[in-house]
C-alpha cells in the first residue's frame, strides 16, 4: 500500500436515453501503476474513460472524481489535459498531412511573439521522440510512418503536455507483435518515471504482462478489481470475470475432414499501387482444400492483406502475373463482381471503412453483396430480403431486436457477424477472412471461431489472416507464413508453435 492514490472515481453512474451505461462504478488508481480495465465490448470501459477525461462534462453523470487528492469537475477535454490527464483514443487523432513535430505541438505551439518558434518545435520534438524511442526525422509527414510509430507520436504528444495520468484505449489493437511489445515496454518505462497509465485492452496476454492492477467491468458495473501484488492473475480468471462464466474450449475442435485441393494460386505477383519497384506479392503460390482453414501469418506490412485483396478482383495494387485455379480450371477474376461470381468472398480487416455501409440496416447489409438473389428483374423483393436477413440474424445469433436495426448501433462483434452474414449470403466456396476478430470481445470471438469452423465443415475453404498467433494455431489446419510479400513457409498447425511461426515471419539473415 505504498503508492498514494492518484485518482479515485466514486459511484459513477452515467445514463443515455434508454440505457444505463455505467452504474455506481468506483475505481481507485494508484500513482506510478499500470491499471488495466477489462470488459467485453459495450461493458462501459470507454464511457468510463470519457467521463474521466471530460468528454462527458461534469454534471452529465452522477458520482465524483477525486484527482490528486482534490475533487475535480472537468467541463471539457482541455480541463482534464491541463490537469495532466491525457487520453489516447483507439482511432488516432493525428493529422496525416502534417509532420511529426507539427502534430506533437498541434494546438500547443511554442511561440516567439505571434509567430511559431519553429526552432523550439524541432528541438523539443527531437527530445520527445528520443524519449519514446522513435527514430524518425521530426519533419516526416505522419502519413509516411506506420501505425505503430504513429502511436508513439501520440505518446510523445502526451508527454509534451506533461502527462501524469495516461489513458490508452486499445493501444495495440492495430499493431503487430513487435510494435506492440515496443509500446508496452515504453509504457512500463514511463511508469518508472512516475507516469500512471490506465490501459483498456482486449489482449489479455498483454494485460497479464504489464498490468499492476486490473478492474473488470461487466454491463456497466465493476465486477472486481484484482491487484497483482496479491498474486498473479491468469487469463482464464479475467475471462471468467468479463463474461460471467467460464468459456469452454476457446477454439472449436478440428474435424480433420479436409477434402481435395480446389483452389490454387500460382506465381501470384503484384506491384505496389504507388511505387513500381515494390512488389507486395512475389510469385506466391498456395493451395486451399475443401473444408480446410488455411492460416496466413505475417508481420504488419508483410503483404497478407495486399495478397488477399489482389486475389479478390484485383482490389489492391497492379497485377503483374500469376493465375488462380479453381476446381481444376483457370478462372478470370479481374473485378469484384467476377470474384463473387466465382464464389470468392473477402471479409475485410477494416469492418467500418471497407466492410459495411454504416447507414444501412442489418437487413440491407446482409443482402448487399448479392442483391440479385432476392431480386427479380432488378427489383428487390422485400419479403425474400426480410426472410434472408432474419435467417442470418438467428443462425449467427446477432444481438439486435430485429433486422431493421441500423448496423451503426451494433457492437463490434455483432457488426462482424453482419459482415460474415453478408458474405455467407453470397454462397461462397472460398472465404478470405482478414483479421476477423480484431477489436472484438472474448465472448463474441469464440462465437466467430465456431462460425468459421462450421463454414469449413460445410465444405468451404477458408483463408484466415490473423496477427494473433494463438488464434492461427488454435483455429487453422495449415499455416503459411509471409515475409515481405514472399511465402516463407508452410506448416500443419498441429505441428507448429509460435516460435516456429515467428522465425518464418521475420527470418534473420542466418535462417
Amino acid at each position: 500500500m505504498a503508492d498514494p492514490v492518484i485518482l479515485e472515481m466514486r459511484g459513477i453512474t452515467k445514463e443515455f436515453p434508454g440505457v444505463r451505461a455505467l452504474e455506481d462504478v468506483s475505481i481507485e488508481v494508484r500513482r506510478g501503476r499500470i491499471h488495466a480495465i477489462c470488459g467485453e465490448n459495450g461493458a462501459g470501459k470507454s464511457t468510463l474513460m470519457k467521463v474521466l477525461s471530460g468528454v462527458y462534462p461534469h454534471g452529465t453523470f452522477d458520482g465524483e472524481i477525486v484527482y490528486q487528492g482534490e475533487p475535480v469537475a472537468f467541463g471539457r477535454i482541455n480541463d482534464s489535459e491541463r490537469a495532466g490527464i491525457v487520453i489516447i483514443h483507439q482511432e488516432l487523432a493525428l493529422v496525416p498531412e502534417l509532420s511529426i513535430a507539427e502534430n506533437i505541438f498541434l494546438g500547443n505551439e511554442p511561440r516567439k511573439g505571434i509567430a511559431i518558434d519553429w526552432d523550439a518545435v524541432h528541438v523539443r520534438a527531437a527530445e520527445l521522440l528520443a524519449r519514446v524511442g522513435l527514430d524518425e526525422d521530426p519533419e516526416t509527414p505522419i502519413k509516411h510512418i506506420g501505425v505503430g510509430k504513429q502511436q508513439l507520436v501520440e505518446i510523445a504528444k502526451a508527454l509534451e503536455k506533461d502527462v501524469k495520468l495516461l489513458i490508452l484505449d486499445e493501444p495495440t489493437a492495430a499493431l503487430n507483435e513487435a510494435d506492440s511489445q515496443h509500446l508496452l515496454d515504453l509504457i512500463v518505462g514511463l511508469k518508472g518515471k512516475g507516469v500512471t497509465s490506465i490501459m483498456i485492452s482486449h489482449k489479455l496476454g498483454e494485460i497479464e504482462q504489464v498490468a499492476d492492477a486490473i478492474t473488470i467491468i461487466r454491463d456497466g458495473r465493476v465486477v472486481e478489481t484484482l491487484d497483482i501484488e496479491h498474486g498473479a492473475v491468469d487469463e482464464d480468471r479475467i475471462i471468467r470475470g468479463m463474461v460471467g462464466r467460464t468459456l469452454g474450449h476457446r477454439f472449436p475442435e478440428r474435424s480433420g475432414t479436409a477434402g481435395d485441393v480446389f483452389f490454387e494460386v500460382r506465381d501470384w505477383t503484384v506491384q505496389h499501387p504507388l511505387s513500381a519497384e515494390r512488389l507486395v506479392a512475389k510469385g506466391s503460390s498456395f493451395t486451399v482444400r475443401r473444408g480446410e482453414i488455411v492460416g496466413f501469418a505475417g508481420l504488419m506490412g508483410a503483404g497478407r492483406t495486399e495478397l488477399a485483396m489482389s486475389l479478390f478482383g484485383r482490389q489492391y495494387g497492379t497485377w503483374l502475373g500469376g493465375t488462380i485455379v479453381k476446381d481444376g480450371q483457370e478462372i478470370r477474376v479481374r473485378s469484384v463482381p467476377e470474384a463473387i461470381e466465382h464464389g470468392i468472398a473477402y471479409v475485410s480487416e477494416d469492418r467500418k471503412a471497407l466492410g459495411l455501409n454504416l447507414l444501412d440496416t442489418i437487413k440491407r447489409s446482409v443482402v448487399s453483396a448479392k442483391l440479385d438473389k432476392v431480386s427479380t428483374a432488378g427489383v428487390v423483393d422485400p419479403i425474400r430480403e426480410l426472410h434472408a436477413a432474419e435467417e442470418y440474424l438467428r443462425a449467427l445469433r446477432i444481438k439486435a431486436p430485429d433486422v431493421e436495426q441500423g448496423v451503426d448501433t451494433l457492437s463490434g462483434g455483432n457488426q462482424q457477424k453482419v459482415v460474415l452474414s453478408k458474405w455467407m449470403f453470397t454462397d461462397p466456396d472460398l472465404l478470405i477472412l482478414d483479421e476477423p476478430t480484431r477489436g472484438i470481445d472474448v465472448g463474441a470471438k469464440s462465437e466467430i471461431y465456431q462460425i468459421i469452423r462450421q463454414l469449413a465443415d460445410q465444405g468451404k475453404g477458408v483463408i484466415l489472416i490473423s496477427s494473433e498467433l494463438p488464434e492461427l494455431l488454435g483455429l487453422a489446419d495449415r499455416i503459411y507464413t509471409i515475409f515481405e510479400g514472399r511465402i516463407t513457409g508452410e506448416l500443419p498447425a498441429a505441428e507448429a508453435d509460435q516460435e516456429m511461426l515467428m522465425r518464418r515471419m521475420a527470418p534473420t539473415k542466418g535462417d
Binding site: 468528454v55 462534462p57 471539457r76 463482381p337 471497407l354 447507414l359 448479392k370 442483391l371 419479403i383 426480410l386
Partner: protein, 406 residues
C-alpha cells in the same frame, strides 16, 4: 414505397412542417392559399423544380452535386426552340431531340465524374459556365418562340370532356384512379405479407390509413377539378406524378437504387461488395441532365419562349429542396418523397409570402433561413438522438461538443 423505411420519421417531420405552413398561410391569406386557382398555379409553376429535385436527390445520395442543371436546361431548351422555329421540324421530334441532347450532356458530365474522377462539383461548375455560354451562343441571346402544340402538351391542362358535372371530368377520373390504385396496392401488399407469415398491422389501422389517404385525394381532386374553365390538373403535374412514382420505385425497390445508396454511404465498401460504382456515378449524372432537359422544356412551354436567362439559379432551388427534404451532404441519405416535400415547402413559402405582400427581397432572406434551420435541426437530431432547445443551450453554455455514447 416512396419513403425509405428508416427515414420515414424524418420525412413525416417535414411533411408536418409543410402542413403547418400551408395552414398558416391559408389563415393569413383568408383562404386563397388553398383555392383551386392557387394550387393549380403552384403545380404548374413548380413542377420543373420538383423534377430537378428528383434527379438532384439521386446525385446527392450518391455523394455528388450538380451545379449545371440550370444551364443545361437553358441550353437544351434553346436548341429545342430553335429546332421548332428556325429549322421547322415537328414539335414531337424537337422533344426527342431535347431528351437526346440532355442524355448526351449527361453522358459527357458523367464521363468526367465517373471515369476520369474529376469531382462533380468541378465538372458541373464547368458545365454551368459552358452550357450557359452555349445557350447564349446558339440563341444569340434573343427570345425564341415555340410551337403552340408544344405549349399545349407541356403547359396545358386536362381537357373539358364528358357531361357537365360542375367539375373537370378527367381530373375527377384521375383522382378516382389514384384512390383505387392506393387501395389495391395496400391490400395486395398486406395479402402478400400475410401469405408468407410476415407481421401485418391490424385491419382497422389499414382501413383508417386508407380512409385518410382517400380523403386527402378526394379533397385535392375537387380542388383541381373546380378550377376556372380551361384550367384543371396541369399536364406538368401528371408528368411530375409519373416521375415521382417511377423514381420512388427505382430508388427504394430496385437493385440500382440500392447501389446508389450503397455508393453514397460507403463507396469503398460498395466497391468491395461488387457494386460497379463508376457506372452508378455515371448513371446519376446522366440521369440528372436528362431531367434538366425535361425541366427546361416545361419552362419554355410555360413561358412560350426560350431566352438567355432561362434556368438561372435553378440548381440552388433544387439543391435546397433536397436538403430540406432530409438528404445528407455527405451522401447516402435522402429520398425522392422527402425532396418533393422539401421543394413544396419552399414553393408554398414563396407563394404564401408573396400573397401576403412580402417583397422578393424578404422572401429570399426567409427562404435562406428556412434552409439553414431545417438542416440545422437535422444535424442536431443526428448528434444527440433527439432535438431539444434546452439541450442545445446547455451544451452551448458549457462549450463542449457532444460525443456519441460508446
Amino acid at each position: 414505397m416512396l419513403f425509405g423505411k428508416k427515414g420515414s420519421l424524418k420525412e413525416f417531420g417535414i411533411l408536418g412542417a409543410l402542413i403547418v405552413i400551408v395552414l398558416a398561410f391559408q389563415i393569413a391569406t383568408n383562404g386563397t392559399t388553398l383555392s383551386s386557382g392557387n394550387v393549380i398555379n403552384l403545380v404548374q409553376s413548380q413542377s420543373y423544380i420538383l423534377i430537378l429535385a428528383i434527379g438532384m436527390v439521386m446525385v446527392i445520395i450518391a455523394g455528388h452535386i450538380d451545379l449545371s442543371v440550370g444551364s443545361v436546361a437553358a441550353f437544351v431548351s434553346v436548341v429545342v426552340a430553335i429546332s421548332m422555329t428556325d429549322w421547322g421540324i415537328p414539335w414531337w421530334s424537337s422533344i426527342l431531340l431535347g431528351l437526346g441532347l440532355g442524355l448526351a450532356i449527361g453522358a459527357w458530365q458523367g464521363f468526367w465524374v465517373a471515369f476520369v474522377g474529376v469531382p462533380a462539383f468541378i465538372v458541373t461548375l464547368a458545365g454551368m459556365l459552358m452550357f450557359r455560354g452555349l445557350n447564349q451562343l446558339v440563341g444569340q441571346s434573343r427570345g425564341i418562340g415555340v410551337d403552340s402544340e408544344f405549349v399545349a402538351l407541356l403547359a396545358g391542362y386536362l381537357p373539358e370532356i364528358g357531361p357537365d358535372t360542375g367539375y373537370n371530368n378527367p381530373t375527377l377520373l384521375l383522382g378516382l384512379i389514384a384512390i383505387v390504385a392506393v387501395v389495391v396496392v395496400e391490400l395486395r401488399r398486406r395479402a402478400r405479407r400475410q401469405s408468407v407469415g410476415a407481421e401485418v398491422a391490424p385491419m382497422w389501422v389499414l382501413i383508417t390509413r386508407l380512409v385518410l389517404v382517400a380523403g386527402v385525394i378526394v379533397a385535392a381532386t375537387l380542388l383541381f377539378a373546380s378550377g376556372r374553365p380551361g384550367t384543371s390538373f396541369p399536364h406538368s403535374g401528371i408528368l411530375l406524378a409519373i416521375f415521382v412514382l417511377a423514381y420512388g420505385f427505382l430508388t427504394q425497390r430496385t437493385t440500382l437504387g440500392r447501389h446508389i445508396y450503397a455508393v453514397g454511404g460507403n463507396r469503398r465498401a460498395a466497391e468491395l461488395s461488387g457494386v460497379r460504382t463508376r457506372w452508378v456515378d455515371f448513371f446519376v449524372m446522366a440521369n440528372m441532365s436528362v431531367l434538366a432537359a425535361v425541366a427546361g422544356m416545361l419552362w419554355i412551354a410555360r413561358s412560350q419562349a426560350a431566352g438567355p436567362a432561362d434556368g438561372t439559379g435553378w440548381e440552388l432551388d433544387a439543391i435546397a429542396a433536397v436538403f430540406i427534404g432530409g438528404a445528407a451532404v455527405a451522401g447516402g441519405i435522402g429520398t425522392v418523397a422527402g425532396s418533393i416535400i422539401g421543394g413544396l415547402v419552399m414553393a408554398v413559402l414563396s407563394n404564401g409570402l408573396f400573397a401576403i405582400g412580402t417583397g422578393s427581397d424578404w422572401i429570399q432572406v426567409i427562404k435562406g433561413l428556412v434552409l439553414l434551420i431545417a438542416v440545422a435541426i437535422d444535424v442536431l437530431n443526428k448528434r444527440q438522438g433527439r432535438f431539444s432547445i434546452i439541450g442545445l443551450l446547455q451544451r452551448g453554455m458549457r462549450g463542449t461538443r457532444a460525443a456519441d455514447p460508446a
